[in-house]
């Protein structure tokens, strides 16, 4: 029991907040999410779009690693698969972007399930190892000659952002960049809602029980194997959707965009944002996108070094990440007020 209470989520805090207070927060959040549409010019809006996408990818990782305790260092592979499914369908088969999304989700879910099966037999460190080698191998596989007809090989594939529909452009002036941000935001919000619902309910409790004490969980009648493989599938699905969104936002996919460093930065983002925290995934996405940009201005090697130092410092000083810090600060403020 205590282990579950040690990892509070939004769900734990929500019932106490009154409905009025919740709607204020919701309105504030909505305003904060929509304000950049008017405040930022197109490059910064693109960056923010990518941050939203990255936070979605971190959310996917968080479900399997944070909540279910299966360490994955290879989620960049699912991100790549999602991106490629969308890119191939759009560039080679002329599908519309929206039609590719469920398809990318389904493919990634299936691949995730397939990866989850051998993962059942592997303890923490070995799973990290296997997923790590998956992440290293993916760019090679994408470049391979046998797949070149689909993937475009080293050159990659070009595609187009979804155009804002006519009924919208007729009423308001909206650029494709602004529209892409909206699409990413809506899809991300849906996935966050899905994840939140999953985590705060019976399944979420079961996932965490499996992580904290598998023997006890099994004794209480939970099907550990089914839970773990399905957690992997859902996690891969969400990260894959993020990949699909990124393909559309960048309008380009190539094998070298999906090196093992992508997987590692998702992992770092999860740790920094907050392991087993939905809110933490948002911070994680912001971190993954903006910190390397800032660090790159110092030196080419600096992002890696700073990433590494931040990762170790967080593990030593703030193991529950930014989300944990925010929660503690809020709890202290709330404690004083009452």
């Amino acid at each position: 029991m205590s282990a579950i209470q040690d990892t509070p989520t939004l769900a734990a805090a929500a019932p106490r907040a009154s409905i009025a207070r919740r709607s204020v927060w919701l309105a504030l959040g909505l305003a904060a999410a929509l304000a950049p549409l008017w405040l930022l010019e197109s490059f910064h809006l693109f960056q923010l779009t990518m941050a939203v996408i990255m936070s979605l990818a971190v959310l996917g990782l968080n479900i399997v690693t944070g909540y279910n305790g299966q360490i994955s260092l290879g989620h960049g592979a699912f991100f790549a698969i999602g991106a490629y499914v969308t890119a191939i369908l759009m560039a080679q088969a002329d599908w519309s972007f929206y039609a590719t999304l469920p398809f990318a989700a389904a493919v990634c879910g299936m691949v995730g399930y397939a990866v989850g099966l051998p993962a059942l037999r592997l303890g923490g460190l070995y799973l990290a190892l296997v997923t790590f080698s998956l992440a290293v191998a993916v760019p090679q596989l994408l470049k391979h000659r046998a797949l070149e007809g689909w993937t475009g090989g080293v050159q990659g594939l070009f595609l187009m952002k979804p155009e804002p529909p006519a009924w919208l452009t007729a009423r308001v002036a909206i650029t494709p960049d602004q529209f892409m941000y909206l699409v990413a935001l809506v899809v991300a919000a849906l996935c966050y809602l899905l994840a939140w619902n999953l985590i705060r309910g019976r399944i979420g409790r079961a996932l965490m029980a499996t992580r904290d004490h598998p023997t006890a969980a099994e004794a209480m009648g939970m099907d550990i194997a089914a839970l773990k493989t399905r957690a992997f599938a859902v996690s891969a699905m969400i990260t894959g959707v993020a990949g699909a969104l990124s393909a559309a936002a960048v309008e380009f996919v190539a094998p070298d965009s999906f090196t093992f460093l992508l997987s590692i930065s998702l992992f770092v983002g999860m740790v920094v944002g907050g392991v087993a925290s939905i809110l933490g995934s948002v911070f994680g996405g912001l971190f993954v996108l903006f910190v390397p940009n800032i660090a790159e201005s110092i030196s080419r090697a600096a992002p890696g070094v700073i990433y590494g130092i931040i990762l170790i410092v967080f593990l030593f000083v703030l193991p529950d990440g930014v989300a944990g810090l925010v929660r503690r600060v809020l709890a202290r403020l709330g404690g004083r007020a009452s």
Partner: protein, 290 residues
């Protein structure tokens, strides 16, 4: 047939490299029951240090010895300063710290020594090709060095009381402490030894693949595959596994999947071993009671 023999010989030569990195991984595993993801980056850094010594005018073998010493101290310091504080933390923390070290050491190496590919000298020059051109002098020499290191490690663990103390500290820390073994010192020693063995691997592989900050990434995965194939708790097994992976990789690269997919061979071996025979070919089967 000649081409096949050539591939086989080349496989054995690269296998020697994998074997020595695999040995370093198994060393850490024996001392701590953990797999160090940053092993390759530490070995690359050691190799750059060796190059610095050589460029400063030291003879090769003096530089070799000095690098061993520096690497040993570096490994022990890493254990003391970074691993010690999180000794009892969950596995996720350990993985995070390894990844952090991988990023820091790898990028610092690039920062300090530059990203250009460098030529690293071999101590075994001048012999010319041997065995009808199947092996170069360096390949033969590096296989010899790997086997020499293996013999030394084996003797250390089985014939010296320090080796026995290290095994005891890893196997049962509490009992070891009760009979007066300083478990903390043994852990640091294990990390130091692994770093030193890794540096040997780095110095042996650098003349073949050339020296750059990312030299070890692929090698590390092959070495993991080798260590797992041979059994993660068995040093001679890891060496055999390393050689086996080298041969498999070369043959598969030449005849089955082509060179672009060589790395996927490592992935397949890792998954295959873990799923079919998790204890490896020569490993001990461990049961855990719940």
């Amino acid at each position: 047939m000649d081409a096949f023999l050539l591939q086989l010989a080349a496989g054995i030569a690269t296998g020697g490299i994998y074997a020595s990195v695999a040995l370093a991984i198994v060393m850490i595993y024996q001392a701590t029951h953990h797999v160090n993801f940053a092993q390759g980056e530490m070995a690359t850094l050691s190799t750059f240090i060796a190059l610095t010594f050589i460029q400063a005018g030291f003879p090769y073998w003096v530089a070799f010895g000095a690098t061993l010493a520096v690497s040993f101290v570096m490994g022990a310091l890493v254990e003391r300063l970074i691993m010690r504080p999180v000794q009892h933390a969950p596995i996720l923390t350990h993985v995070g710290v390894y990844i952090g070290m991988l990023l820091i050491i790898g990028n610092l190496t690039g920062w300090v020594f530059g990203y250009t590919t460098k030529v690293f000298p071999s101590p075994f020059e001048g012999g010319g090709p041997m065995f009808g051109g199947l092996l170069s002098a360096h390949q033969l020499g590096s296989v010899g060095v790997t086997l020499g290191v293996l013999v030394l490690v084996y003797l250390f663990f089985t014939k010296t009381s320090l080796g026995l103390a290290m095994r005891a500290a890893a196997y049962n820390p509490r009992s070891a402490r009760l009979v007066g073994i300083r478990v903390d010192v043994m852990l640091a020693l294990g990390w130091g030894l692994a770093a030193a063995i890794g540096s040997v691997a780095g110095m042996m592989v650098a003349p073949i693949v050339f020296l750059d900050p990312n030299m070890m990434l692929g090698i590390l995965l092959y070495a993991f595959a080798g260590a797992l194939l041979g059994g993660i708790d068995n040093p001679p097994g890891a060496v055999a596994g390393g050689f086996l992976v080298g041969v498999l990789e070369n043959l598969a690269g030449a005849y089955i999947v082509g060179t672009e997919l060589k790395l996927s061979v490592a992935l397949i071996i890792i998954i295959g071993v873990l799923v079919l025979k998790p204890s490896g070919l020569f490993g001990r089967v461990v049961f855990s009671r719940v």
